[in-house]
């Protein structure tokens, strides 16, 4: 699983609070989020590399 930067914890904890989720933002949650971010960045970079990609949603 991807390593999560420790300084990301307060921000992620804040997002949990916004969603009224009382669970703590543990290191394992942060690691799961970091892995998701990796995947997300891979997708986002596609549109940077292919700005004209036709996507009729």
């Amino acid at each position: 699983m991807a390593d999560a930067p420790s300084d990301a914890l307060p921000e992620l904890a804040g997002r949990l609070v916004q969603l009224e989720i009382p669970a703590q933002c543990t290191a394992t949650v942060a690691a799961a989020f970091a892995l998701l971010r990796e995947h997300a960045e891979r997708v986002e970079s596609f549109f940077v590399e292919n700005p004209d990609a036709a996507c009729a949603v």
């Binding site: 949990l16 009382p22 949650v29």
Partner: protein, 441 residues
């Protein structure tokens, strides 16, 4: 274990009573399930009552249907009247009982099939392992030291072990195809949205589908039709190709040889590449986590500690993902779907591995992806996720490997092309290239 068709023919012809079929099935489960742990609830009383009703109908000269007396089981996320639908979650053991059967269960029962058992799964279908903190780990019938795969692991293992000839599972990112491959049975993930989801505990609406497991292509096709499947006519000359690129990078040699043999059977087949498959997998990851997190938000707010921690962490991560990230993944989905549609202009059936190697060991649940050892629970779907991401129908077929651990292939079609997939699956079975092997005693 006799085939679905053989059991139904015997019962309909009055050569065997449905009650005897159910007694025999209950005895098989009693004998075989302890080391496998595929079954979570045995429904002996209702199954015997339903079987008696089938026998009574036959004695009155009525036809109880094309699945008369066929025992079947369902993944723990199908509603069964009178039982809580656990979805594999300990926190749902005491959920209110379902008031009616899921529509798919109802359709199979209406065809004469008899529900005998509910079957194990990963919690809330979020995993490829069927390692369940509340209901135990389902083990592979071909080697109980190995994973059965998931999340419909109980459904695949029950067929592979010879306990049941027909089961139902669900597939979001590979949850039918991965366990079918690792357990060496047939499994269908239909075209997205074509089989009834009423009474099925949801996970990710964008990708969720239900489908059957069976021990032959013919039984799989029969079940699909009775569940409500319809398909485009089969082309006179089905154009077969193999998927290259991403789908060969992490596949073992035996899989490659198996696909080579299939290619030779068809007189040589081209290799085609679908672009950006790794990004499709990533986008499926993102949408799954985001929709799953949103789905479970009420319980994450009130009962977070009751989740399996491995499930909870991923759902929490998905819940806090920005909406823009989800929408970007959805936008990519549209682009990727168009690329696949282009490929199906020239080909009808594409062949790819379902899982890259044999089932991982339970005590070492890691697989190698691009030279890195990663958790099997999250990564066994590297070949399945990109295809369900765009809703394609896939039949998983087992390479015929008697005495060896199973390997499975995906036969992939364009939306609505299930009949062509069944036709190819049947041809490969007749040619002796694919088929179910009984686990070693």
């Amino acid at each position: 274990m006799k085939s679905v068709r053989a059991i139904a023919e015997e019962v309909r012809a009055g050569r065997r009573r449905a009650v005897d079929v159910v007694h025999s099935t209950l005895a098989d489960i009693e004998r075989l399930d302890a080391p496998i742990q595929a079954v979570t609830r045995l429904l002996a009383d209702t199954a015997l009552a339903d079987a008696a009703a089938i026998d009574a109908a036959i004695s009155r000269g009525l036809d109880p249907g094309p699945l008369a007396g066929v025992p079947f089981g369902v993944k723990d996320l199908f509603d069964v009247a009178g039982l809580p639908t656990t979805a594999g979650a300990g926190m749902r053991r005491d959920a209110a009982p379902a008031t009616s059967d899921a529509e798919a269960v109802r359709r199979l029962k209406a065809a004469g099939a008899i529900l005998v058992a509910t079957l194990n799964m990963d919690e809330f279908a979020y995993g490829f392992a069927t390692v369940n903190a509340a209901f135990g780990t389902t083990r592979n019938p071909h080697d109980p030291a190995r994973l059965a795969g998931g999340s419909s692991g109980g459904s695949a293992a029950a067929v592979a072990a010879g306990m049941l000839p027909l089961t139902l599972g669900s597939d979001t990112n590979g949850s039918i195809r991965v366990p079918a491959a690792l357990c060496g049975v047939y499994g269908l993930k239909p075209t997205h949205g074509t089989l009834p989801m009423d009474g099925v505990f949801p996970f990710v609406d964008s990708f969720d589908d239900i489908g059957p497991f069976a021990a032959s292509a013919a039984d799989l096709a029969l079940a699909w039709g009775l569940l409500g499947g319809t398909a485009a006519p089969v082309p006179a000359d089905i154009r077969v190709a193999r998927l290259g690129g991403w789908f060969t990078r992490n596949a073992c040699d035996a899989l490659e040889r198996g696909i080579d043999a299939i290619g030779a059977h068809f007189g040589g087949i081209p290799t085609v590449k679908l672009p950006e498959v790794d990004r499709a997998r990533s986008a499926a990851f993102v949408m799954t986590a985001a929709e799953g997190g949103a789905r479970h938000l009420p319980e994450l707010r009130t009962r977070a500690l009751e989740f399996d921690p491995a499930t909870r962490d991923r759902l929490l991560a998905g819940a806090i993902l920005p909406a823009a990230t989800y929408l970007t993944a959805q936008r990519f989905q549209s682009w990727f779907r168009a690329q696949a549609a282009r490929m199906f202009a020239d080909h009808d059936v594409l062949i790819a591995p379902a899982v890259g190697d044999v089932a991982p060991r339970i005590d070492d649940p890691l697989i190698e992806v691009d030279g890195v050892r990663v958790p099997a629970r999250a990564h066994l779907g590297i070949f399945t996720q990109p295809l369900s991401f765009i809703g394609l129908p896939v039949v998983t077929v087992p390479l015929l490997r008697p005495g060896e651990l199973p390997l499975g292939l995906q036969l992939v079609g364009k939306p609505g092309a299930e009949a062509a997939l069944f036709a190819i699956a049947g041809q490969l079975e007749v040619a002796g290239l694919t088929g179910v092997s009984a686990p070693a005693a």
